[in-house]
Symmetry: C2
Subunit: 198 residues, 2 copies
């Protein structure tokens, strides 16, 4: 158990930033640890001073994303009465910051949006998935108190999946096309959720 110095903390941030960039460009498997080190401006050996292996980098990145998403949620939902908000506004209040987050963190989708992660990575992003599922399930329960738990969970899973599927399209587009696709995402969610939580 080594005690990190300020310099070490900064290096870890450098490495994670470099890894996120690289993953965003080429995907997890295609990025070598030597490439990450080079992009971070350090040697391969130094990288392993801070992370046990490549998966550990993904894990740390997923953790950082989870924390940022938690902050995002707090900021967006503070003071709003989720149970009372019209569905339109609820969807808008959730998707808008999510799109912003994905635009600002383009490495996110490389870890989160893939349907078939390598087994090692599955472990790394499982907490992130679980946290999101729990959050959305809770929200749905508040809006539709009568629905059975297993139905709530299935509905939440599908809703998350829909957002995951649309996000790459939205991020890849820009200008008017991006705005249009954001509208489509809201329409999809509205069409799916309206019968459940009118």
């Amino acid at each position: 158990m080594t005690k990190r110095q300020a310099r070490g903390q900064a290096r870890m941030e450098q490495i994670l930033a470099a890894a996120a960039e690289a993953f965003a460009e080429s995907g997890y498997e295609a990025v070598s640890t030597n490439t990450i080190a080079a992009r971070a401006g350090i040697s391969p050996g130094s990288l392993y001073q801070f992370f046990a292996n490549k998966d550990d980098i993904a894990r740390a990145l997923a953790e950082r994303y989870a924390a940022q998403l938690a902050e995002l949620r707090s900021a967006a939902f503070d003071g709003a009465d989720l149970a009372a908000l019209p569905l339109d506004q609820l969807i808008g209040a959730i998707t808008a910051p999510l799109v912003q987050f994905n635009l600002a963190n383009r490495g996110f989708k490389a870890l989160f949006a893939r349907p078939d992660l390598p087994p090692s990575l599955t472990t790394a992003v499982a907490p992130l998935h679980a946290a999101l599922l729990g959050r959305v399930s809770a929200l749905l329960s508040v809006r539709a108190p009568g629905v059975a738990p297993d139905v709530v969970e299935r509905t939440a899973t599908v809703a998350i999946q829909l957002v995951r599927a649309m996000m790459p399209l939205i991020v890849a587009a820009d200008g008017a096309e991006r705005a249009a696709l954001e509208g489509e995402l809201r329409a999809v969610l509205h069409g799916y959720l309206e019968p459940v939580i009118g």
Copy 2:
């Protein structure tokens, strides 16, 4: 340009079948050409008698899938009046055989359902994507003649994306849960398309 014998054709089928299985289990990158050869019961050298490289295998597989899908479409739509069918039934008539196809060809999603394919693979599956987009666009145009072409294309893209996103969930489940998720897929499509092609 070598002339294939019957034996050679059979070998190519063996190889494609082995590759599809392996891709379904582990994903494209994680599968080595030596593993494909071993699963097909041949040597690495023999594999390259029939395919120029790994991407070529994916390309051939994508081609085969495209042909099978085309047949599927013909079988499902023959004699039905697509313009007149109620939306519910139209969606059912399309999604049901699609689910069957994905269950029977579990390697399909490894080539088609991923948002971030390696560049080489993008070329291999591009024709498949284009064919599907064209088919769905044409269908939407028939159902909603007044809509602008760029809107039709965007709607088709989104609809395809929704199916792509839901399919792994459906295939991974079974029994009652699979049936429920199929229902969710229909609900998603209905909710999204109803305002466009009521």
